[in-house]
Assembly symmetry: C2
Amino acid sequence: MDTVAAYHFGWIDAEGRPTDADSGKAVRPALALLSAEAAGADPEVGVPGAVAVELVHNFSLLHDDLMDGDEQRRHRDTVWKVHGPAQAILVGDALFALAVETILRGGTTHAARAAGRLAAASRKLVDGQAQDIVFEHRERVSVAECLEMEGNKTGALLACAASIGAVLGGADERLADALDTFGHHLGLAFQAVDDLLGIWGDPGTTGKQTWSDLRQRKKSLPVVAALAAGGAAAERLTALLTADVKKSQEEFDDFGEDEFAERAALIEEAGGRRWTTEEAARRHRRALDALDGLGLPGGVRERFTALADFVVLRQK
Amino acid sequence: MDTVAAYHFGWIDAEGRPTDADSGKAVRPALALLSAEAAGADPEVGVPGAVAVELVHNFSLLHDDLMDGDEQRRHRDTVWKVHGPAQAILVGDALFALAVETILRGGTTHAARAAGRLAAASRKLVDGQAQDIVFEHRERVSVAECLEMEGNKTGALLACAASIGAVLGGADERLADALDTFGHHLGLAFQAVDDLLGIWGDPGTTGKQTWSDLRQRKKSLPVVAALAAGGAAAERLTALLTADVKKSQEEFDDFGEDEFAERAALIEEAGGRRWTTEEAARRHRRALDALDGLGLPGGVRERFTALADFVVLRQK
């Protein structure tokens, strides 16, 4: 399994030769280290938390890529594509177990609290992925349902990352919960940007196919916001997506670029793209608002802000 | 996911109607409760450990049945067969996260130690499953390699079950490690019996297909012991299995009952069946020996012994 994990992290290629491929943005570990500093501890105190959240994130990527049938991640073939489905499942499971082991190695009550938060966030993450898959097969999903799903799928682990270092550093519940709220809204901002890229992103930048979320019939934020908007474009989109849900996977796979371009244009015309862009900005602001009045040590707030900006502004 | 989990545990049928199907033998939770008593605590103290090991066990069943392509478990269709591969992956992941959450709910240092042992055992379990799959594609596997794989796949979680209640009850490392050793050997005895049933078990009792392990080219204990035995039957078996490994899954699926019966007869003739039966008895004895000199509270040793007897004598 070491080889498969090393492939996934971009350290070796499919033939086992060393590479230095993209290992991801490491937003979650960065948050975890800053989180320790937020509690007045050394960033080193956050390291087990940083490792654990990154392992949980990668566990979820390994399983999600398999379930979603995604063939590309970070401009490379996904693990299930190269090493087969069983390896994607096993290595994901192993990374999850290793995450829990890593965080508990300290054996303190702080570590136990941190591990409890990590396990709860992981369960929400799995729950969110399950909702995401169910939504693909539903004709309509409300904006509230989509936000709940994205809060689970993406918000929970970012909330955990933003608070876990502080918990390891002995923070009280008030500080830990405020950092959790910061991470939750940041996660929703992050996911809103991801949803925009999932439809209008440049494959050369995202490392994914064109219209990737539309190809999977994802009910992402731009889609559900457009469906909820009313008006002619929303009605036309509703009719198309209602028909899409009833199609077999084979029929749907036969769609050409034009079909997806038509749906993307209707989503934009109905206002789904603009609403999602504004939602990313709103969540970015609510994230930063959560840091008010915490009396964070010098420089910590500035670096949380820089990270939040990076998350919302990346790749646009 | 609740519905899928309830189906897996035998509480509802595929249509969602209540049933009381077989939920498994619950050997692991029984061990965990007794384990708490071994440390002089109330069995109630072991409950979070009992729940956690049973959840981890079922997480592994959900994923293993999918990876192995097993269509039947406890006389019913497996989850991936009824609800699809994605649900088997997701619900397995959720049960694993829930196991860690459950054990950490106490928030004590005892809970942190218990959770650390649970995570380490889970990682070994995944490692064992990975080895098991790799061995299917190898011509030869030594008895030592097979025992290491089975120690991971089955021994680690039984070792954890047998010690986790005591850890939650505040046992010192010496007692916890002795109970761990008891569970490890018991796990190997358990797996040896399972390996015998995987070849010669009655489908009406096991709920699996005839020759189920041979159909998957498993290098289980009877097989590797036969291969290592030398003599005419072992040589003939070696030639057959070497050729089997090179076959495509399609060619192999075309095998009839006769082909499997021939392999089973050679394994028995070479002594693999007898060796494995003796190994189960040896491990059963080593398990009970590990309980010597611990000064367990009254009646605990007798109940550990009754559980060990049940594990080794079941269904034979």
